[in-house]
């Protein structure tokens, strides 16, 4: 019989495997991606990629400026459009940078988390052989007690200073005390990076399940709106939001109060609304800039305000129509521009047919405070001397074609083809409050008054709470990681050399100490000195 040794073979070296080329490439790319250098490069790319978004107008920030840019740079704009220059933060190249960065982040922090958890559960490692080679060291501290006693008291002292400690006894009668501190640094660091991930997820979640819409709301009982898409001027739903999911509420603007300084700078805005939720009773609510109307599943923000002239048009047959038309402010003094369109006028009562050549349009400016010098811009944003400058147009307004046009300007195509003609001369006609203007065909336009309007943004983002928590936790983690210092300290306690062997029990001990800051920590030498002093004197 042959003797077979049943000792397990050392598992140190695995049999050399033929490395698959593709696998090696993948593994190396992953290592490359998760390296700190790559992360740094990606951080810089992210910073650089964000710059164009501040240089070129962004559709998500201000779509009108993009249109302006198209007019000013007709050659450059389409090129920029193809490169994503008007939607930088939604462009594939911007997304690819931050997705790579976050992949790199995951590849970096997940193994670190595993290591950290392992380190937290492990006892501090035993003292290295030569403590004098460490950045901090001290030798030949003598204590009267036996090594075991000394080691125990040292460990107790270190524990009191919130070190994690481990006492080990060695065969030659030598005791070692290992201590480690500063795990909060890595904990904070990991917390910070994981909360960055949480924030990214929160942003994505909010984008998917959130929605927002804008509405210009004119004051008065006849001008309310309800929270359905058709009643908004524009709206954006997240990919996972169905129009039927929108919460049920209706708003009417009952009062708008604006105050201004003498310079014309606005001081306060206050909107008062009648709110009806889920067909319940109407309630009065007020909100202002910085203090939105919060409705659980939606928030209503006050963004701006303006004036809507009330115009009464009396046609050839004596039929009167009144319209409230919001004029959009073009400067800080509320000089506003807009149009009033009357397509259903001059209908012959005999035939009851609409004559498309007799539709009426008025285009012009509203000045809440007309300056004394008669210039065409308002002198103050409040209505101290209201004046309306209008030009009248008659003809086909072009509203029947079906193509959506702006409600704040006349159809330029109709003006160009002459289907819509100026009938009041080149100089706009000035109307004071209450004035009536009789046109060339005997029809009349009366400037009845004005109402105020508020521009509202209605939004819902279900992830905001998560984002806030993520950001605050991240900040806490960041502070921990910047403030903490990881360091290790070792003490080796030998029996006093004068009494060799186990006979030393009861005799004195000689202690050597070493310290290793594991991060840049300028205060470590002082801390180490204090520890050594305490060890020497036997005080905790």
């Amino acid at each position: 019989m042959t003797v077979i040794e049943e000792r397990p073979a050392p598992s140190a070296a695995p049999p050399p495997r033929r490395t698959n080329g593709l696998w090696a490439l993948l593994r190396n790319s992953w290592r490359q991606l998760t390296s700190m250098r790559t992360a740094l490069v990606l951080l810089f790319l992210l910073a650089i990629a964000a710059i164009p978004g501040s240089v070129f107008p962004q559709r998500g920030v201000n779509a009108e400026r993009v249109t302006q840019y198209y007019q000013q740079h007709p050659d450059l704009a389409p090129v920029l459009e193809r490169l994503g220059g008007f939607e930088v933060y939604a462009s594939p190249w911007f997304a690819s940078i931050y997705l790579l960065l976050f992949t790199s982040l995951i590849g970096c922090v997940v193994p670190r988390l595993i290591d950290h958890v392992r380190a937290l559960r492990m006892a501090p490692p035993d003292a290295p052989k030569r403590l004098e080679r460490l950045p901090q060291h001290a030798a030949d501290l003598t204590r009267a007690d036996a090594p075991a006693e000394v080691a125990r008291s040292l460990a107790a002292g270190l524990r009191r200073r919130r070190f994690r400690t481990k006492v080990r006894e060695h065969e030659d009668g030598v005791w070692t005390v290992s201590a480690e501190k500063g795990f909060l640094k890595e904990t904070g660091n990991l917390l910070f990076h994981f909360s960055l991930l949480a924030v990214l997820i929160g942003v994505g979640f909010g984008h998917w399940y959130g929605w927002h819409a804008n509405r210009l709301l004119v004051g008065g009982p006849d001008q309310g709106f309800c929270n359905t898409l058709t009643q908004y001027d524009d709206s954006t739903l997240g990919p996972r939001v169905h129009p039927a999911d929108l919460p049920n509420f209706c708003l009417r603007l009952t009062d708008f109060d604006a105050t201004f300084q003498s310079t014309g700078q606005p001081k306060t805005f206050l909107a008062t609304v009648q709110l009806t939720q889920d067909n319940g009773p109407a309630e009065t609510r007020r909100f202002t800039v910085n203090d939105p109307l919060r409705l659980g599943d939606a928030n209503v923000y006050l963004l701006g305000h303006g004036y809507a002239p009330v115009l009464k048009f009396t046609d050839r047959y004596g039929v009167a129509q009144t319209k409230v038309v919001p004029f959009l402010p073009i400067d800080g003094m509320q000089t506003s521009e807009g149009v009033a369109q009357f397509p259903d006028v001059n209908i012959d009562p005999k035939t009851d047919k609409r004559d498309p050549t007799l539709q009426m349009g008025f285009e012009g400016r509203y000045l809440p405070t007309s300056p004394t010098d008669g210039s065409a811009t308002s002198a103050f944003p409040a209505e101290n001397n209201p004046m309306l400058y209008l030009t009248a147009y008659r003809g086909d307004l072009g509203l029947d074609v079906g193509t959506p046009g702006s409600v704040y300007s006349l159809d330029q195509g109709q003006l160009a083809t002459g289907e819509l003609k100026n009938v009041s001369g080149t100089r706009p006609h000035a109307l004071k409050l209450g004035d009536t203007w009789t046109l060339d065909d005997g029809t009349k336009l009366e400037f009845v008054g004005t109402r105020e309007f508020a521009t509202l943004s209605i939004r819902h983002d279900p992830a905001q709470g998560l984002l806030l928590v993520g950001a605050v936790v991240g900040l806490l983690g960041l502070m921990l990681s910047l403030a903490g210092h990881r360091r290790r300290v070792w003490f080796r306690v030998r029996p006093d050399a004068d009494l060799p062997g186990p006979a030393a029990a009861g005799g004195g001990s000689v202690v050597t100490a070493g310290g290793l800051p594991r991060t840049d920590y300028p205060g470590f030498p002082e801390e180490f000195k204090a520890l050594v002093k305490a060890a020497e004197e036997g005080t905790p």
Binding site: L40, I51, L467, L478
Partner: protein, 327 residues
């Protein structure tokens, strides 16, 4: 009160200038003895090496220097102390200008670009004085720190001066205090952190033996290691403050005011860029394979993005943060 504020600010700028002159004086006179020694010693050593040996060379050199050295050092020391004193006066005047401005407007003095720069530079200056008082060794950076302050304040007065006025409704919120003050403190420290960063790069080059123009400035400043550590500590302190101000308080206020927490407004874009660059600095510094000089260059890049956000965004771009009233 507004007039008083302007006068105090003018006095503060003058005091900074005066402090700068004194720092320069210390720079020029105070260390001449050391400069002299640096220039003389190698020559003596060479002669003596020729004559006998280095062992004999040192004692006479030291003996030669000793009687002269204390007097000269004292003069430099004195000028340096005067400089710090004037600097403290300048900071107090600066504070006075800021407070009277706030009293005149009946609100916190950071409602427009002019006041913002005044506040930021005040923080930078106060932190600087704090550092100097805690560690007199870095006093020799005072020349460069006060130079930076005078330039910033001059720029504020020339291109951004705005008469006192109340706030627009959008700014009328307690977040105005929280958001803007934390950003002011964070930016102020970042701005002053750029001074040791620059000096570190210069000093480091000097220590590596370079003697061409910018590196010669590094002759009298503290050791490169000290400067580098100071740079890091200032940045590591400012970074969480800036994070809170720009990326937490800012979005909370933006949500209440504009309906969205983040909208890529030009100011937000550049705050994001600065944050990413400073995050890059902290990472680079924590990575052993990245040289400290490279990391410090990144911090200076962050400084440039802060300047871009302060001046460039207010003056060139139009956005929701347009309260600058400049230009």
């Amino acid at each position: 009160m507004a007039e008083l504020s302007n006068q105090l600010m003018a006095a503060a700028v003058l005091a900074y200038l005066f402090a700068m002159v004194c720092y320069a004086g210390e720079y020029a006179f105070g260390k001449r003895s050391r400069v002299g020694r640096a220039a003389v010693r190698p020559v003596e050593a060479k002669q003596l090496v020729g004559a006998g040996g280095p062992v004999a060379a040192d004692p006479p050199a030291v003996a030669d220097d000793n009687p002269v050295q204390p007097a000269r050092r004292d003069r430099g020391e004195l000028i340096g102390r005067i400089a710090v004193g004037i600097n403290v006066v300048a900071v107090l005047l600066h504070l006075g200008g800021l407070v009277t401005r706030g009293v005149a407007a009946d609100r916190m003095p950071w409602g427009n670009m002019y006041e913002y720069i005044l506040s930021t530079t005040f923080i930078a200056s106060a932190v600087w004085i704090g550092v100097v008082l805690a560690r007199p060794a870095v006093r020799h950076l005072g020349l460069f720190a006060s130079l930076a302050l005078v330039v910033m304040l001059g720029a504020a007065t020339m291109i951004a001066y705005t008469p006192v006025g109340p706030l627009v409704p959008a700014l009328n919120s307690y977040w105005f205090i929280i958001h803007v003050s934390t950003i002011i403190i964070g930016s102020g420290i970042f701005l002053i952190g750029a001074v040791p960063a620059v000096m570190y790069l210069i000093r480091n080059g000097y220590e590596e033996g370079r003697r061409t123009f910018p590196y010669t400035l590094g002759k009298h400043v503290p050791a490169a290691v000290t400067l580098e550590r100071l740079t890091f500590r200032l940045h590591a302190f400012a970074f969480p403050l800036f994070t809170f101000g720009a990326l937490i308080a800012g979005p909370i206020w933006a949500e209440a005011s504009w309906g969205r927490y983040w909208g890529w407004d030009p100011k937000e874009v550049w705050a994001f860029i600065s944050w990413v660059v400073y995050a890059g600095y902290l990472h680079a510094r924590a990575t052993p394979s990245v040289k400290r000089t490279v990391a410090t260059w990144i911090a200076l890049l962050g400084f440039v993005t802060m300047l871009m956000n302060l001046f460039g965004v207010n003056l060139f771009f139009e956005g929701l943060h347009s309260y600058a009233n400049a230009g």
